[in-house]
């Protein structure tokens, strides 16, 4: 009885279980091999470096569950950052006014992706590949190769912690949004629509699911999240540059897939993505403090991804 329940749990959540175990292993090994790793202040402080990737992992999970992909998010970060910094420093628009506008700009850029994907039926991989170049390019047109400073009052958000904790503000935001996204995917109509669209888009349409609308909203949300990340990054680095966040999309997708979300859509949990993201963070932190060279770190993450995919495939025999 119990074993059959475990069996069923395993069948349903093998990838999540695999990454959870890997996370615990990574933590134990890092702590055992490198005592300097076990330092809460350091761990939390260093984790803030990955906040934006962590946030994007959440929205990318929804996108991939819906059977799509969004490569353009990191370019949206740069572009929105460029817009905000330009409006602030060249047109003197107050920064507090621009903060809430960032997700709006990002959302608009995401909606453009959504339009091409949902209304023109173009493959999201290629559409967002194109907008990835386009948005990055527009950021570059705006800023050239120079940096624009953000006001000092608004920088350094990562150094503000919750009282009596090591929790830096970006981490607090991330943890909050983890819960929000978990609720969004697993507890709302929107989330259900996302899942069924990933499972079978045609049947979703026949079932009265507003597929196109769901996708446009989803890409808009993805863009808006990138907008939020853009503000965090601006505050963290104090400058806007066109080349910010470049290449992070691969880390984000790696985390999502590592967390057991099917790249073909229809299956995935926020829990899996969160654990996978933590796993990557822990592995990188562990290797970083142990002085492992950057290139080995890159290789290790690739191997980790393969390991997780192969493990959960082999053990469940899922097609």
């Amino acid at each position: 009885m119990i074993s059959s329940r475990i069996r069923r749990l395993w069948n349903a959540y093998a990838p999540e279980i695999v990454v959870t175990i890997l996370l615990i292993l990574a933590f134990v090994i890092s702590g055992w091999r490198e005592p300097r790793f076990l330092d809460a202040a350091y761990l939390f402080d260093r984790s803030t470096l990955y906040t934006e990737i962590g946030l994007l992992t959440l929205s990318m999970t929804l996108i991939i569950v819906a059977g799509h992909i969004d490569l353009s998010v990191t370019s949206i970060i740069a572009f929105v950052g460029a817009i905000i910094a330009t409006l602030y420093s060249r047109y003197g628009i107050p920064f507090w006014l621009l903060i809430p506008l960032a997700p709006v700009f990002g959302g608009f850029l995401g909606a453009v992706n959504g339009y091409f994907v949902a209304r023109r039926n173009l493959p999201s991989l290629v559409v967002t590949l194109a907008t990835m170049a386009l948005y990055r390019g527009m950021a570059q047109i705006l800023l050239g190769d120079s940096s624009l400073m953000t006001p000092p009052d608004y920088t350094g958000i990562e150094r503000v912690t919750l009282p009596h904790t090591y929790l830096h503000t970006p981490l607090v935001i991330w943890i909050t949004l983890c819960l929000v996204f978990a609720a969004l995917l697993h507890r709302t109509v929107f989330g259900r629509y996302i899942t069924v669209t990933g499972v079978n888009p045609e049947a979703a349409l026949y079932s009265g699911v507003p597929v196109a609308q769901t996708l446009i909203r989803l890409f808009t949300l993805s863009g808006a999240m990138a907008g939020v990340c853009s503000v965090l990054l601006l505050s963290r680095l104090g400058v806007a540059r066109y080349d910010h966040a470049r290449g992070w999309e691969l880390d984000v997708i790696t985390a999502v897939v590592l967390g057991g979300t099917s790249i073909f859509g229809g299956r995935g949990t926020i829990y899996g993505s969160v654990v996978a993201f933590l796993l990557i963070t822990i592995v990188q932190t562990g290797m970083g403090v142990a002085g492992v060279k950057a290139e080995i770190q890159v290789t290790a993450i690739g191997l980790l991804l393969l390991l997780a995919v192969l493990l959960s495939r082999l053990t469940t025999g899922r097609k």
Binding site: R187, V189, R192, E202, Y206, G208, P210
Partner: protein
């Protein structure tokens, strides 16, 4: 080559196939002989396609044996079937759009010369084959530019190129024009004369009578008879196929009167359908009969907002309805159980209750938050009410049989509390027991006031359930029958079948 009375090229004994709990074919024994065109007849879901697919290696039998030339064989996949000289031509040919016609014929075994594809010989052989078939078609043409009929010819040519002795044509004529059908008939007769054994699966009586030598009739997964065509009549075959008195199991109440709930006026969407007008009253079941391809499904889709008609109006409760999406249609109380359950109705990997509650989520939620416990409770009720056979409602849908999947799809729609139910082939591919249950449900719903549009290829079903029957031919409504005047013969005739109408000699789907 063996004559009609020679030893069979292929014989099956006790062949059975079940999917999960549902047996779709039981104890089937047939003999296929050289030089003979053999019809498999039966209603939808009777098991004729299953039988063909077992022979062609697409399915593997649950029990029974296949003998080829007297030797027992096990056929694991279509490739092994082709090696045994067995080929199946499906209704919708599987073509490789960017390959040439010739390659489509020879794909997987292109002629090679010193390691290279020998295009000259490829085109030569393809031309020869196509010539043999009497098809005028450039083998160099890419397949994407060919019609369905021509692409079927490629499949046929492919089978012949393999020296297939047994050709199974699974509803091949369903999507062909009359001219294409007669061309195919000529070709099949020639092949049969050359000693091939041909299995013809189709519905049109006049095709069967003009083409076939012998017929095996299946009903509800069992073989119920075998006839030499020369010794039988369409009526005889129909009776065998239907097998029961029409309308014996369900009893419809009095014909409802009152104002129409759904009115359709002059709906057109060329070239699919033209000038469609009809109405359905509260509590009325209107059957939409016609051949496959007559435009029945397309009308349902247009009503449900899946496609946009170019002309015409739809009125619900006397008021014009703007329907641009399924969402809009649902807003007017419509529901559509689609034709292709696997592709359009079901979400196989997710749970039963998630399937059943999907279309009612706006109601089963508060401000966008799901009320899953309510959904589960309601699904449990539907499972009971529709007698869905399942272990638990958390089970993924793919673990259920076809009939039970269909019940879940129906539950999904009934959960939306519709006023107008559009049912497209609601009992296709489900077992007899489940079918009766679905019929009873449809009547119950109508008695409770549901306006139902019933599209079905199952003539007894449509005759038994409908208060009125509309007959569709080539996208137009050609006749309307009242319950009292509808007989199988009359409906078949109206759909354009055995009366021998010269223009479009198409037969009713039995």
């Amino acid at each position: 080559m063996n004559g009609i009375n020679g030893a069979p090229l292929l014989r099956t004994t006790g062949l059975s196939k079940s999917f999960g709990a549902v047996t779709v074919l039981e104890d089937a024994g047939v003999e296929l002989r050289a030089g003979e065109i053999h019809a498999f007849l039966g209603e939808n879901g009777a098991g004729k396609s299953t039988l063909a697919k077992l022979i062609a290696g697409i399915y593997r039998p649950s029990a029974g044996q296949i003998e080829r030339n007297g030797r027992p064989v096990t056929i694991h996949n279509p490739r092994e079937a082709t090696e045994l000289g067995i080929a199946l031509i499906p209704q919708e040919p599987r073509t490789f759009p960017d390959l040439s016609a010739a390659e489509n014929i020879f794909v997987g075994r292109l002629p090679m010369r010193s390691g290279l594809v020998d295009w000259k010989s490829l085109y030569g052989r393809a031309e020869e084959l196509l010539h043999e078939l009497g098809v005028a078609l450039d083998p160099r043409q890419p397949a994407r530019s060919l019609s369905v009929a021509d692409r079927q010819m490629l499949e046929l040519a492919g089978a012949l190129s393999l020296n297939a002795e047994i050709l199974l044509l699974d509803e091949t004529t369903a999507s062909l024009t009359p001219g294409e059908v007669s061309r195919l008939e000529v070709i099949l007769r020639r092949l049969s004369a050359a000693g091939k054994s041909i299995v013809f699966i189709g519905h049109r009586m006049e095709e069967i009578f003009s083409l076939c030598d012998r017929a095996t009739i299946l009903r509800d997964g069992k073989i119920v008879g075998e006839r030499m065509i020369s010794e039988t009549s369409p009526e005889d075959l129909l009776r065998l196929m239907v097998g029961r008195e029409i309308g014996e199991k369900v009893v419809r109440g009095s014909v409802p009167t009152g104002k129409p709930l759904l009115e359709v006026k002059g709906l057109s969407q060329p070239p699919l359908f033209h000038d469609i007008s009809f109405s359905i009253r509260r509590g009325e079941i209107v059957g939409l009969a016609g051949l496959v391809g007559a435009g029945r499904t397309e009308i349902a889709c247009a009503l449900f907002g899946l496609s946009q008609p170019t002309a015409g109006t739809i009125l619900v409760d006397g008021k014009p309805a703007e329907i641009r999406s399924p969402r809009d249609a649902m807003g007017y109380g419509m529901a559509l159980a689609p034709e292709d359950r696997q592709k359009q109705g079901a979400f196989l990997p997710i749970s039963l209750w998630e399937n059943a509650s999907l279309s009612s989520l706006p109601r089963l939620s508060r401000r966008g938050w799901l009320k899953d416990s309510v959904s589960r409770t309601l699904t449990t009720e539907w499972v009971k009410r529709l007698s869905v056979r399942c272990r638990e409602i958390e089970q993924p849908l793919h673990e259920l049989s076809g009939g039970n999947q269909q019940k879940v799809v129906l539950a999904k729609w009934l959960e939306t509390q519709p006023k107008i139910l559009l049912l497209d082939e609601p009992t296709r591919g489900i077992d007899v027991h489940a079918k009766t249950e679905v019929h009873r449900l449809i009547c119950e719903l109508a008695d409770a006031g549901m306006a139902t549009l019933l599209i079905s290829s199952d003539l007894p079903e449509i005759l038994a359930l409908s208060d009125r029957i509309l007959v569709l031919r080539s996208g137009r409504i050609v006749r309307e029958f009242d319950r009292s005047e509808a007989t199988p013969e009359a409906v078949i005739a109206a759909a354009g079948v055995s009366t021998g109408l010269p223009d479009k000699p198409r037969s009713m789907v039995a």
